[in-house]
């Protein structure tokens, strides 16, 4: 490390990148299930009707987190 | 190799425990090294098979209208598997699979509980071979049932071709193939194996860790009591895992059979 560098990150930056990338999907999945629980609590008979949309939303959001893992491995530098 | 024996004999622990601790000494050529034909594990599997056969034969040898205690016990196990697993998962057609599910459930439960029964204290299922064979039996079963129910072509068409437009099918069929025919037996086997392996490893860590701290120095010696208290607590947790994994294995097999029997899923 030469004198002009004030701070350096050692190890895998891909891990840090994935940590950052997981924030969004984490919040998103939380929102999806929070909304489902809330709607089911308010109107229990709607649970079967809303469940398919829960899985669509979950799949689309979770895909981002999984892509984060995959890209972290593929282009780990 | 003789991790546990060392601890008791020499009073010093081989800490941390390794995978070697799962390979127990040979029994039939007594104490032979590198001989795995008849070890404690093999003996336990045969004991489990024998106990199950004798128990169910004995309890149903002379069935009474008002069941004896033994008969009541055997019948409630069978009734539990038939009503709460086979019929719940598969429906009316599930009754004919109930004998297999009961055998599977009892065998997995018994071999799992060897993990915490004194003097056995390791589960045969902590070696991948035994869960793997059980998973292969279930795999062959549900494929055979599906082919017998629908015919070869229709069964694979049902399970491989999802309801989607033709132009995305090439994208989807490999995924279906992977998740239906490759991941299923693998996850069945690995789930049971990993739970029993981790459970035994955890108990070893805390037991041997107690010995390691006892022999380390005078300050750490009292802490070893804490470690052994943890071992007792973890034994109860282990009991929970044992029952749960036996149940999960049977339920998943039932759900795969249900999927194979279903018209289209």
């Amino acid at each position: 490390m030469d004198a002009s560098v004030l701070a350096a990150v050692e190890g895998s930056t891909a891990a840090i990148g994935y940590g950052l990338a997981a924030i969004g999907p984490g919040i998103g999945v939380g929102l999806v299930f929070a909304a489902y629980i809330q709607s089911t609590a308010r109107q229990p008979e709607s649970s079967r009707m809303t469940l398919p949309y829960v899985w669509i939303g979950f799949a689309v959001i979770e895909a981002l987190a999984l892509l984060g893992i995959a890209f972290g491995f593929i282009w780990a530098g | 190799m003789f991790g546990q024996a060392n601890v008791l004999a020499a009073g010093q622990a081989a800490f941390p425990p390794t995978v070697e601790d799962f390979y127990l000494p040979s029994i039939l050529p007594w104490g032979a090294h590198e001989s795995y034909w008849f070890t404690k594990i093999t003996a336990m599997v045969w004991i489990a098979v024998g106990v199950l056969i004798i128990f169910f034969l004995a309890s149903y040898r002379n069935p009474q209208l008002v069941p004896t205690k033994k008969q009541w016990f055997a019948e409630s196990i069978y009734g539990f598997v038939r009503n709460n697993i086979a019929v719940d998962m598969i429906g009316h057609a599930g009754v004919r699979f109930a004998p297999y599910f009961t055998t599977l459930f009892c065998f997995v439960l018994l071999t799992n509980s060897f993990a915490i029964i004194p003097f056995f204290q390791i589960s045969p299922n902590s070696h991948i071979a035994f869960p793997a064979v059980l998973a292969i039996i279930s795999y062959v079963l549900f494929n055979y049932i599906g082919i017998k129910q629908h015919g070869f072509v229709k069964y694979f068409k049902n399970s491989l071709i999802p309801p989607a437009p033709w132009y995305i099918l090439p994208l989807l069929i490999p995924i279906e193939l992977f998740s239906t025919f490759i991941v299923r037996p693998f996850s069945l086997a690995v789930r049971l194996f990993a739970n029993m392996f981790a459970g035994h490893m955890l108990l070893l860590v805390f037991t041997l860790g107690g010995f390691a701290m006892l022999s380390a120095n005078a300050w750490l010696a009292p802490v070893s009591v804490l470690s052994w208290v943890m071992t007792i607590a973890l034994t109860f947790l282990e009991f929970l895992v044992i029952v749960l994994q036996a149940y999960v294995f049977t339920v998943l097999t039932a759900s795969y059979v249900q999927g194979a029997l279903a018209e289209e899923h």
Binding site: - | A164, I168, L171, V183
Partner: protein, 78 residues
């Protein structure tokens, strides 16, 4: 119990489906799609020496396939 041959009627079709089972199905489709097409992309990568681009394309394709499967299998209102 073991002797009587009149099992109770089959489970009602309109009881609530188990949420955990569906969740695992969804997750396994997504991961499965990613792994399968990621592996195919990796093979292409080894063959054409494209330095990870084909693997990335494969993963994205597989993820799209996984999402389509989840939508088709779980996302259609019954």
């Amino acid at each position: 119990m073991a002797g009587d041959q009149t099992p109770r009627p089959a489970g009602e079709p309109d009881d609530i489906p188990s949420g955990a089972g569906q969740g695992w199905t969804a997750l396994s489709y997504l991961i499965g799609g990613m792994l399968v097409w990621g592996f195919i992309g990796w093979l292409v990568d080894q063959w054409l020496d494209t330095g990870g681009v084909a693997t990335g394309i494969g993963v994205v394709l597989g993820m799209a396939g996984g999402i389509i499967l989840v939508v088709r299998r779980l996302g259609t209102p019954t």
